[in-house]
Amino acid sequence: MKKKLKFNACVGGILTGGMLLFILTGIFFLPYDPDAMNAELRFAGMSLAHPLGCDNYGRDILTRMLVGSRTTLLVALGTIVVGGGVGTLVGALTGYFGGWLDEVMMRVIDALFAFPSILLALVVVSLLGAGKYNVILALGIAFIPSFARVVRSQYLKLKEMDYVKNARIIGCGHFRIIFVHILPNTLSVLVPTLMIGFNNAVLAEAGMSYLGIGVQPPDASLGRMLSEAQTYLFAHPLQAISPGFAIVLLVLGFSLLADAMEEKGCRC
């Protein structure tokens, strides 16, 4: 069991590190202009100048992947900050204080939970319009319920612990107990949840951009590249496969890391 755990963490770490390095490279160095079209290079195959070839507009696919995965990372991180932040806050307050606030919030969370997250995001986008920041907001709202539930159940359990009662006796305020005493103890559950949430955000963003209601051009996005490439799937499968694999590698790395962490958290 221990060996497999290490193997998980290793492969996950390498994949995640590789993808992060790939995205970081894209921030500082782009081999070509991601939007420069070139009719001569239309559907160019693999070559030294264009390692993954060119797409239907003659744009370099590798360059577009560098830019697209950066957008994907930005949206996923933004989603985690919005959804995880608000969700944790709601879960912590309702779980700790309980009472009528808890009842009301949980009913609202239940109602939100009835929407598949992509459907909820679709509703928000249909109200606000598409675009990078609206997608962050939409997915963020869609992800609040899952975080709130996990954090709430932790607070319900932890607020009965002796150290919380001790802190009360010493005279700590409620907010100090919530954020300084209890919050660090939820991390073993919160961090894997955040990582799984990150993965779901990557997948949801890619799905929405694929449907054309996520990130809008000229912003490149992995999901959008896939939907553009699908038209030419028959003749040029590579154009679809490369951005798809970038998504898979990013998600796989994170899920292996989350798995390794969860197993570690279970043991102690």
């Binding site: 997250s117 496969i241 998600v251 899920s255």
Partner: protein, 317 residues
């Protein structure tokens, strides 16, 4: 019975809340439906008349109650862009999405239970490790990408189906199901991987319990104990998981319908969003949410029927 009654009441309340949230969202958005219908160069009098006719000038809660009552009667209003009633528009799309979801659920149950049993029984073997690795990879592939890969492999290289060649169920039922088979795989794949993983860990956990040891010590066969005693207990969390997975599968089918160009509920939802055809969007969203709520509620009820401890605990508190 008390439990079931309370469960149904909670479900109804959640449904009410969902419909209220949706109605609120689509009312506060900027943009006047009357102007949208008449165009921006209509005279203010004409707009005012249409507003009166559409009932837009009444108080918010009155409009909500009105909408809810007609919704409950199956009257979803009229579509802005198709000039037909929303109910008619959606009715012939429902079987398509339904058939796809049912096929995926069937695949999940048929494939993941034997695999889960096998991996739990041969824990630590090479095949177990291989399946673990495969599960992790499959979970990372979004349904639309696996849809594209399936199109590439089965549609273009092996020519088992024609990509984009959707057959309507009114003309040819076998062709219809045959075409939906591949999108269903794309929807089911990640869920199969998750179910196998969950079932394996549940089975291994249950296998260590005292009752399993007792069953072994009385001379029962390893497989027999696993199938007759352990599987029953390990299935409980799986049923809950499948209920939650159902939610994701509805979402997945919206995307996968687009990959395989299937004119189902997802397609109509997307075109309605881009055309700002809000009655259709509202109807689809509320109906899908209702399906999810009802499915999860029914699963909760089944669950307490299988495991009476949950009911007793609920009545105590």
């Amino acid at each position: 019975m008390k439990y079931v009654g309370r469960k149904i009441l909670t479900m109804l309340f959640t449904l009410l809340l969902v419909s209220f949230l949706v109605f609120l969202c689509f009312t506060v958005i900027p943009g006047d439906p009357a102007i949208a219908r008449l165009g921006t160069d209509a005279t203010p009098e004409a707009i005012e008349m249409l507003r009166e006719e559409m009932g837009l000038n009444r108080p918010f809660l009155v409009r909500y109650a009105d909408w809810l009552l007609s919704f409950a009667r199956g009257n979803f209003g009229d579509s802005y862009s198709y000039s037909m009633s929303v109910a008619d528009l959606l009715l012939d799309k429902v079987p398509i999405t339904l058939a796809m979801s049912l096929m995926s659920i069937a695949m999940i149950v048929v494939i993941s239970i034997p695999l889960g049993l096998y991996t739990a029984r041969h824990e630590g073997s090479v095949i177990d490790k291989l399946i673990y690795a495969l599960n992790q990879v499959i979970m990372a592939v979004p349904p639309f990408f696996s849809g594209i890969l399936i199109t590439l492999l089965f549609g273009i290289f092996l020519k088992l189906f024609t990509p984009g060649g959707y057959v309507s169920y009114t003309t040819d039922v076998t062709g219809f199901l045959g075409y939906l088979f591949f999108p269903s795989i794309a929807i089911a794949l990640p869920k199969i991987a998750m179910t196998v993983k969950l079932l394996r860990s549940e089975l291994i956990e249950e296998k260590k319990q005292d009752y399993a040891r007792t069953a072994y010590s009385r001379g029962n066969h390893t497989g027999g104990v696993l199938y007759k005693h352990v599987l029953k207990n390990a299935m409980l969390p799986i049923i809950t998981f499948l209920g939650m997975a159902f939610t994701d599968m509805i979402a997945g089918s919206i995307v996968v319908e687009q990959v395989f160009s299937i004119p189902g509920i997802g397609r109509i939802l997307l075109t309605s969003i881009s055309r700002r055809d809000y009655p259709v969007v509202m109807a689809v969203v509320v109906c899908l949410a209702a399906v999810v709520i009802v499915v999860n509620g029914v699963i909760d009820i089944i669950y307490q029927w299988i495991d009476p401890r949950i009911r007793l605990e609920g009545e105590k508190s």
